[in-house]
Amino acid sequence: MPDLSINFAGIKSPNPFWLASAPPTNSGYQIMKAFDAGWGGAVWKTLGVPVVNVSSRYGGVNYRDKRLVGFNNIELISDRPLADNLREIEEVKKRFPNHAVIASLMVQSRQEWHDIVRQSQDAGADGFELNFGCPHGMCERGMGSAVGQEPKILQMIVEWVMEVATKPVIVKLTPNISDITEPALAARRGGADAISLINTIQSIVGVDIDQFAPYPIVDGKGSNGGYCGPAVKPIALNMVKNCAQHPDIKLPISGIGGIENWRDAVEHILLGASSVQVCTAAMHFGFGIIREMTSGLEQYMVDKGFSTIYDFVGKALPNVLPWEQLNMKYKVMANIHAEKCIGCQLCYTACEDGAHQAIRLNAGTRVPEIIEENCVGCNLCSLVCPVEDCITMDRTDSGTEHITWKERVAAGTAPTEFNDERAGGRHHWVPEPSAALGKERHKTLPGKARVYAGDLGL
């Protein structure tokens, strides 16, 4: 059996799945329930001077019938007195000595940071996560993302914390910044033991088109919130990768953002995370999702022959390159497997209107045909095709040649002038603009008029 346990910057956990600091970690009750269910660790809902929240705190993004592909909140840090939280941390640690309990912290003055770090340590927290990420409410008071966006201040606060911390310190980063590596480097300079990312993305999750107000609506008004859920995973993965690849950061990364199943977790780990944090999925489906996550991760490790998490932390990183280092000789071409095609023709209309006019329809069949000389291998058709493996992107180059943009620039073979003969699309067939006119006009007519448009001149 593979070993799922981790030692994250000195914080031990039976598996890499932690609950992120958020509503699911608001109380000892919830965390004990989560540990009972199988979670490896939990980052306590951020401690500080307790807040007062508004009612109506969450908003969702639905895609068609799928609920909460995106989620946002305008809830603040813990609204419970510190003593209550600390007492429960102690209780949890007593009951679950081998699970990771991390205290998320957010205060203002040096004295406050010292006090809260000491008290949390005394309560038995295994480590700290400094919340420099919250992008709503708290940032208006100079905390949360307001700190994460100012590397110098971030570094200073980390230094204050390190003055008293005897347990590992994780700095949680905000994605609301143009270059995530800058605050990550500041955390390193300040002496932090690890970083975690991403916190939520500043967002308006939707607008009520009848009340003319953003969701979630508080007495007819709204405010920007923090965006999370499955939709943010791609942003998180990219930022995790940026931090993991940076030669000077060199800190363990706790990956956060859009993790809902084992697959999402593996992706974060392959890009450099060595623990993962989950919130939205637990808020949506409850703590029980952990069973699928651990069993999926375990099965993946068995299938791949990995015995520990560390066997594949960052394993995809060598394959993430700057664009200019990609092989321009690599060619794929769409291949429609007619026997699987159901004739929806989504590939046709996608390529026709959204790509390179490399698919045609032929009379007498609903199966579209690839115009090989026009196919640039963009993948679009295979992405819109609703049938598994019906359109495959097959390699057509010999696999023996390799040239990158960087090399072409160096060799002087890259286009440099506006009308350069070496333009990538120069020898590519593009239809005459006027050929578009009226091509699909019949589709705009109702009923039989479509069919008889020609006959009756309607």
Binding site: K66, P446, G447, K448, A449
Partner: protein, 441 residues
């Protein structure tokens, strides 16, 4: 024991004749509409005789624009709600859904269609209004799917329209002929009210037109006459004993059933003669009325029946049994039906022949003849110059519906020989345009 108890109240009737395509709620409509792939040049549109832009209205439902969805539907087909419920979608739009090729359940297009149309009908939201009056008028004979559809379209084009109907209610077979588990009278008539409230055509019920004098009055008063007369009574079989009590035509039986529900009586042992969709309906309906034994008797083999497979499955599902390769010779009994004398048949090279000496009597106390409807040939003879083809169908221009008497136009069963509501609705819309083109010359 019968599969169904004989219904004695409206509630029991409604339970026995529960809607095959019940109204969706918003959640179901959202889920179902989310599955639509939004095919390019969608096969469902092509399979729809009225050419409704189905992916468009499904997308409109999905984005919460039910009113727009209803408009998309009604722009192509004024019997939008009725068609959603009574169309044989299994062989039309839903049968063409590309999901079938992937062994995935096709989109429930009919139910989505009714979901959108029911919403606007219930809200009473106006989608259309009559066009500016053009000073011309058209008489419409028959308030069925063809007649009402033509009336709507003609009103939209600015014509004054009077609809003459022999029966007491509009929508033709939708309220008099379709099986009650496909659509209720209430929802049928609600759609008719909804249309009339918007288009404002005049209706004259209990006003049969059946003499040359009456036709001449119309010819003198109106600029054009639209024939939406449908078909006539059930064909007589010419069998001995056909006039016995409890030997009835399917069309007449169903009309009674639709109007009087559980108050009509059905036999304990019913034999339905025929192999078409109406035979399936009559058989299912007999079973749902509490008949203990319902037998479908057909001259040829099972696979040669004209009925859609799903219609036969539906009948089998309520306990109807099939009796194939039998031809009726005589309805036996004294005053009342007591049985049918059959002779066994065989089909050789497509020709049915009787097997000598194979006669037998199948006892029953009711016979329903579902052996086709007669054409209205007598009435059509009253119209000078109007030609019918060898099968008694009105001859008319395929794109304009104009008959060989230029003042008369036709659509629906009387023209196509007997098809679905959707065919009549689609044809009538086209014919109204044909009338407009003719009168605009």
């Amino acid at each position: 024991m019968a599969e169904f108890f004989t219904p004695t109240t409206e509630q029991e009737f409604a339970a026995n004749f529960a809607q095959l395509k019940p109204l969706m709620n918003r959640t179901e409509a959202l889920y179902e509409s989310s599955r639509c792939l939004f095919c390019f040049d969608a096969p469902c549109i092509k399979a729809c005789p009225s050419g409704i832009d189905i992916p468009q209205f499904i997308r409109q439902i999905n984005s919460g624009n039910e009113t727009g969805a209803a408009r998309t539907i009604y722009e192509a087909n004024y019997f939008g709600n009725a068609c959603g419920k009574v169309c044989p979608t299994e062989v039309l739009c839903e049968g063409a859904c590309v999901y079938n090729l992937q062994d995935v359940k096709p989109i429930e297009i009919g139910r989505l269609q009714s979901y959108a149309t029911t919403k606007v009908i219930e809200s009473g939201k106006k989608l259309f209004s009559p066009g500016a009056a053009n000073g011309k008028s058209v008489a419409v004979i028959g308030a069925g799917p063809a007649g009402i559809s033509a009336a709507c379209e003609l009103r939209a084009l600015g014509y004054a329209v009077d609809v003459f109907e022999a029966k007491a209610q509009p929508s033709g077979l939708t309220v008099y002929g379709v099986a009650p588990y496909k659509i209720t009278n209430e929802e049928t008539l609600a759609e008719m009210d909804y249309l009339q409230a918007q288009f404002g055509y005049n209706t004259h019920f209990n006003s049969p037109i059946n003499s040359r004098e009456e036709l001449m009055k119309l010819e003198n008063k109106y600029d054009a006459i639209f024939l939406g007369i449908g078909l006539g009574k059930t064909n007589a079989l010419g069998l001995p004993g056909e006039n016995k009590i409890n030997c009835t035509g399917a069309v007449e039986f169903i009309a009674e059933l639709r109007q009087h529900h559980h108050e009509i009586a059905v036999g304990r042992k019913v034999i339905v003669l025929g192999g078409g969709n109406t035979a399936m309906d009559a058989a299912s309906e007999s079973a749902r009325l509490g008949a203990e034994q319902v037998t479908l008797a057909y001259r040829r083999g099972k696979e040669e029946m004209g009925a859609y497979e799903f219609e036969y499955d539906l009948a089998k599902g309520v306990g109807v049994s099939g009796l194939f390769n039998v031809a009726p010779l005589e309805i036996v009994g004294d005053d009342y039906v007591a049985g049918v004398r059959f002779i066994r048949t065989e089909t050789i090279n497509g020709k049915v022949s009787e097997i000598a000496g194979s006669e037998f009597v199948e006892p029953c106390d009711m016979v329903i003849k579902a052996t086709g409807q007669a054409k209205q040939t007598e009435f059509l003879r009253l119209i000078p110059g109007l030609e019918v083809d060898g099968k008694g169908r009105i001859v008319a221009n395929a794109h304009t519906g104009q008959t060989t008497n230029p003042k008369y136009f036709a659509s629906g069963d009387a023209w196509n020989g007997g098809a679905e509501v959707v065919n009549a609705a689609a044809e009538a819309k086209l014919t109204a345009r044909g009338i407009h083109a003719y009168l605009s010359k």
